[in-house]
Symmetry: C2
Subunit: 251 residues, 2 copies
């Protein structure tokens, strides 16, 4: 894990861009993180195809909220985003998805699979490598949460990565059928955010996914509004979910 020089943000938050093999990312740590008091960490997912440069303001805001709870936060550039080479077939799949949405139709299962599954296959091991490195830092301990971004990545990580203790997921991206099947094997607490009027999002698929989760503790929080209209009360609810399960300063 090679770090660029640290940046000090308001409130004592430290921001460090890093490179880890093919992966680039940013780590944010709260002012009280130290080897004698290592902090929990939230893996912050992103939507596909946008890239960290454009996502930076929102990521930094989420990281500051996590830091206010006493958590570190880390985000990595997704395969096919930013300056990374496009995933095979992704451009065509995205065009097919947009065409379906523009026609007022739900995209077919094959379009969703072509768009999402290659991303999941490549991103999940990168997240795991990142987690290895982050947990090796003396000031970061655990527990580990996963938050937001491509929901199929969050589900796969919740299944394969036992170090993740809680997942706050945003049901705002296409859901492959296999993701719903995988969700039956998820047992950690999940908090699913759904925007009820999300344009082009398949609400039925989101409800089916929520139903499928095998977790004894799962919460669905649905609000009126489109994809980008998540109310501040919902963000606060998600923060309380992580506070309960990662044991941060705020409760």
């Amino acid at each position: 894990m090679n770090f660029d020089p640290a940046q000090d943000l308001d409130g004592g938050v430290t921001e460090r861009a890093f490179t880890l093999g093919d992966v680039t990312g940013i780590l944010w740590t709260p002012p009280d993180a130290s080897p004698s008091a290592p902090v929990p960490v939230v893996l912050m997912g992103q939507p596909g195809g946008i890239g960290m440069r454009r996502m930076y303001p929102r990521l930094a805001a989420r990281a500051r909220s996590a830091a206010a709870q006493g958590f570190a936060a880390v985000s990595i550039e997704l395969p096919g985003s930013g300056d990374r080479p496009p995933l095979p077939g992704a451009d065509q799949a995205r065009a097919d998805l947009r065409a379906a949405i523009a026609a007022g139709e739900q995209p077919g299962a094959d379009v969703v699979d072509r768009l999402v599954l290659p991303l999941v296959e490549q991103a999940v091991p990168e997240w795991q490598t990142t987690l290895d490195a982050v947990l090796d830092l003396p000031e970061v301990g655990g527990p580990v949460g996963f938050s937001g971004g491509v929901i199929a990545i969050g589900v796969r990580l919740a299944v394969v990565e036992p170090r993740i203790a809680a997942a706050g997921l945003f049901a705002g991206s296409a859901i492959p059928r296999t993701t719903t099947e995988e969700a039956r094997r998820v047992t950690i607490p999940v908090h699913v955010l759904l925007q009820w009027d999300d344009e082009g999002n398949d609400r039925g698929a989101a409800l089916e996914l929520f139903d499928a989760f095998g977790s004894a503790e799962k919460t669905l929080l649905a609000n009126t509004g489109g994809h980008t209209g998540v109310p501040s009360s919902a963000s606060e609810d998600a923060a309380r979910f992580f506070a309960r399960h990662l044991g941060g300063a705020q409760s």
Copy 2:
């Protein structure tokens, strides 16, 4: 409104049983309620067919929570509950409902209508009369919230009673088709609690009802667990909803 002698509860909450025509009920007021600082009030609904005597511990706990937010709370005996005469056809409708649930079926629309609609027709004007009387008290001002109980009563009140500013509803009772239609005319903020694994509850009908609400601001909070398994975090969420919309002490 004829009051029995007041009871002082812990924390300075005052409890007063009352009679208002055919209606009996209980009013709880927080310690800081006074004519110079009248408080908001929450109308606390109840499930049908149980009665206030058995419901008292839960009602008193909800009233204490409301008082901690600076709100008065009031609850009335539903028609057909407690010592009140049974509603015509209610016993048969309830038996039919139980038979359907025992057979693992959803009860028919006619059973739901026979069970719920006579209750709505009689309970709603009684709630309005109660609200008239409560708002005449110098220590109670407004705004007014409706919380819990038979969801069809809450929906009807939200449509016909302009003094209600926000409704926290529990999707844990049978929903007549006409209730879903009425919900399209609801415009106040609604917060709907759903227990995802509620025994004998029609989850699809609950989701359809949520979708139907005409409110610009509506939230669905669904949690794993049965009818009586509402987690404490959900109660806290509902309290925050009322704090936002009734403007109480806690926010």
